[in-house]
């Protein structure tokens, strides 16, 4: 495989050496390693998250985020928890999901809260990014390509690498934002139904890092979604998954369909994207059942890529409910 990484080697080694690369997932991936630990998925919810008649309450979303991240890392303070996966001086990318516009994209109040905590953890250079500037703008993000601090731009700003990244069924050019700008990435997907893939959460959000996602939707995205997440630059750089479930959608995705969204008022946090996706999928299935809708399996769009991501060829995490520790806070 021939790809270009902009991360300087020293920075990468520092990060790897300091155990910042998803230890829970790595433990699961090593059959000869220590006793297998469970993958923890934290579900944090707050029924008071929304101000009456308006959007997300910024102080409450910060509190919700703290609860979730502290629980995920078993830390007493937010700062301690955030320092488990980012280091001062790193450039941290926030991979949002803005395809659905303002209605059902990664919430800017949640992103603001994450930026606040990153800055307190010593991260001064943050890049909010997605596929296109127009997608970001439609989700109420303001494009800022130049100023240091908190930048925000789509892949169309820097473009893609020239050399193909080839991994399993995938042959793609990687976003330069991922390869040349970000030392680390926090993945910020939505909790959503997807008319082709079944659901779209942590694993599928990585499609925003390649130039040709349109080629990888056949067969419900299986095995493509799992294969994309095996691309080393993607796998190594994503440090944490924080799924925005403040507003969730159980049918009609990925486009915003207000009739099928509901205020879940929560976030899901995990180091393990497979466990997170499996857990989120069950939330969507429960909501569909509550609404009298057929399951995704009955609709012939069960998200099979989640199991593929967990199989012996991928080992990106676990989809075995017995090996997933769901913690509700």
């Amino acid at each position: 495989m021939k790809t270009v990484s902009g991360t300087n080697r020293r920075r990468f080694l520092l990060a790897a050496g300091s155990g910042l690369l998803g230890t829970a997932t790595m433990a699961l991936a090593d059959p000869l390693g220590p006793p297998i630990t469970k993958s923890r998925v934290v579900i944090a919810r707050d029924p008071q998250l929304r101000k009456a008649g308006s959007g997300i309450d910024s102080s409450r979303i910060l509190g919700l985020l703290d609860k979730a991240v502290q629980t995920a890392f078993d830390r007493d303070t937010a700062q301690e928890a955030w320092r488990q996966f980012v280091r001062p001086g790193e450039v941290v990318g926030l991979k949002v999901n803005c395809l659905a516009g303002r209605g059902c994209s990664t919430n800017s109040a949640l992103v603001d809260a994450i930026c606040e905590r990153l800055q307190q953890a010593g991260v001064k250079d943050i890049v909010i990014w997605d596929r296109l500037n127009s997608d970001l703008e439609s989700a109420q993000f303001r494009i800022n390509e130049k100023e240091k601090g908190i930048r925000c731009f789509g892949n169309d700003t820097l473009g893609y690498e020239d050399e193909l990244a080839i991994q399993g069924s995938i042959g793609s050019l990687l976003s330069k934002t991922l390869t040349q700008v970000c030392d680390a990435v926090i993945n910020l997907p939505m909790l959503k139904d997807h008319s082709i893939a079944g659901v779209t959460m942590a694993l599928k959000n990585s499609f925003g890092a390649i130039h040709n996602p349109n080629k990888y939707h056949p067969q419900g995205g299986n095995p493509y979604i799992a294969d994309v997440n095996m691309i080393p630059q993607i796998r190594r750089k994503i440090r944490l998954h924080i799924c925005d479930a403040t507003t969730a959608q159980y049918e009609g995705g990925p486009s915003f369909m207000p009739q099928w969204t509901w205020p879940y008022n929560g976030v899901l946090v995990s180091l393990d994207p497979v466990a997170l996706d499996y857990t989120g999928w069950q939330i969507i299935e429960r909501k569909r059942a509550e609404k009298g809708m057929k399951s995704l399996k009955e609709m012939k769009r069960e998200p099979a890529y989640i199991a593929t991501a967990a199989d012996a060829n991928h080992r990106l995490g676990t989809n075995d409910p017995n090996r997933i520790e769901v913690v509700n806070v």
Binding site: S195, I196, S255
Partner: protein
Amino acid sequence: MKQWTDTAGTAGCDRRSFLKTAALPCLAMCAGTFGGAQGLLASESDAQFVREAQFYEKLPYKKIKCKLCPRECVIDDRERGYCGARENRGGTYYTLVHSRVVTAHIDPIEKKPFFHFLPGAMAFSLATAGCNVNCKMCQNWEISQVRPEQVRSTYAPPEKIAALAQQNRCPVVAYTYSEPVIFYEYMMDTARAAHEAGIRSAVVTGGYVAQDPLKKLCKSVDAIKVDLKAYSETFYKEVVNGELKPVLNALVTIRKLGMWNEIVYLVVPTLNDSDQEFKGLARWVRSELGLDVPLHFSQFHPEYLLKNLPPTPLATLERAKAIADAEGLHYVYIGNVPGHPAESTYCPKCRRVVVERVGYTIGAMHLKNGKCQYCQQPIAGVWS
């Protein structure tokens, strides 16, 4: 400067040097005619490339179903089809590549290859970005497997293409390099403008197209070359990301409608090169299309996602030709092997050379009014 291949050809230069010159290398030949040597970056004005697409169905909740190719993508609002060149915007489907040329060259028609269609003619050849399949051996993936906004492009409306072809004494406009089916509207409008200027149109396609648009296309263009990638569904599924059956159906329709048609079969070592497959293909051509459809067995060169395979051995190509010859096909060629005797056209009756070729160059022609000058056997094709 990269010379794009017509789907089955050989790559000419390294990719990096291509990227620097991808915006209309043809400008070198047509200086000033595209509004400045820098061309026009697509991002400067996307609106001029956007037209409502043909062949789609509106579905509830602002979804659409594309009916242009057999894939029939169902596409949500703000999403694109598999080709990457068509987008659903609020429940209306748009092509994003009308007049959005990513490369243009003046090529010999033999490079397409067409061997029985105006031999020796120069073809004004163009492409937009995008493709409705994803062949692992694609020679032109840098333009076919990207979205329109990911490569430099130039605004070149149909009338301008017709005028450029005329100015450069090209009797043919060829739609090639990527997949013209995905720039269908632009191709149709350009074919119309070209015809008005007395210029013919030739299409180089994978043939993965729905029947209705194909029938309409056949009324508007003059020749179609189909890249038949294999004669097995397995290969189409695993290597092409498409289906064989609709391509075979397209070939039958093209033939039935009287359109001049040639077939190229890129022979990929170990993947589509068995005797059984060659024989099955030749028999199918004989029974469904007739003996007169030219069949080109072309040499594969490692590219894109199939760099692990060697170039096709000459012996394999000669074996394929021998099998097709034995089935009685009249015009079986070996392609991408310059200087091979099987580049020339032989009279099926007296077996003498009627069109001599070396590479893309025409040597002697021994045809008179479309017949062999030695034995008066009609030679199928469009000769003037």
